[in-house]
């Protein structure tokens, strides 16, 4: 389970109390509400993973998909 999922679980427990019989979902990082973790803490966490992420097979290929060639206009 990733760290963001832990945040979600902790937040669920804060909302619902210590209801040990309940199964909380793994949101896999997709929070259905604003997180209580600050953006700076979250971005520091993302940045701490950068070196490791760049060694991942397919990272360079995946990055090539990021660019949008079509120009955006208003």
């Amino acid at each position: 389970m990733n760290e963001s999922s832990n945040y979600s679980l902790e937040e669920s427990r804060l909302i619902y109390g210590n209801a040990g019989e309940l199964e909380f979902p793994d949101w896999s990082g997709h929070l259905p509400h604003r997180s209580r973790v600050s953006n700076d803490v979250w971005l520091a966490y993302c940045r701490s993973n950068l070196a490791k992420i760049r060694t991942r097979p397919g990272y360079a290929e995946g990055r090539k998909q990021d660019g949008i060639a079509a120009e955006f206009r208003f």
Partner: protein
Amino acid sequence: MSLFEQLNRAAAGLRFLVIGGHAVIEHGFQRGTEDADILVSRDDRVAWTKIVTDLGYKLIRDGGAFMQFESPEPSQWDLDLMMVPAETFGRLLATAKAATLEGVAVVVPSLTHLLALKIHALKHGRGLRTLKDLTDVAQLLSVNRIDPKSAWLRERFEKHGDMELYERVIQLLS
């Protein structure tokens, strides 16, 4: 030092908007990001290329309306530059939201403009990127309590995307 602080110092009066994952996070959907994306005026293309390469970044792809740079440091964001016509840039900047990212004052597009950029990316993107953009649009609408069936959102899809994409978002949120 934060990349955004380096850019603020080096920009010398040139303006940029932080877009991509950082802007999505600033607008309430806290998801993972692996790079930084900034939007600049197309008229400043040469100046920005110099600024970024002077910071040690290496140009790895020039796609016309965007450029991708590789960070000189393993723990620093890679950087993507998106370029738009000066008129479009001015309109985005006029309604931009002030934000603090990694302790640095920056500006991000308004939520409605960020959604328009994301819809544009959805229409023209490829590969797994489209899944990320689709999730961003749906989650930004959800977390900001925006009715996905509102007329203005439909208009954004008509202008920057298409109705098939609109229906996919509606399905995700229904």
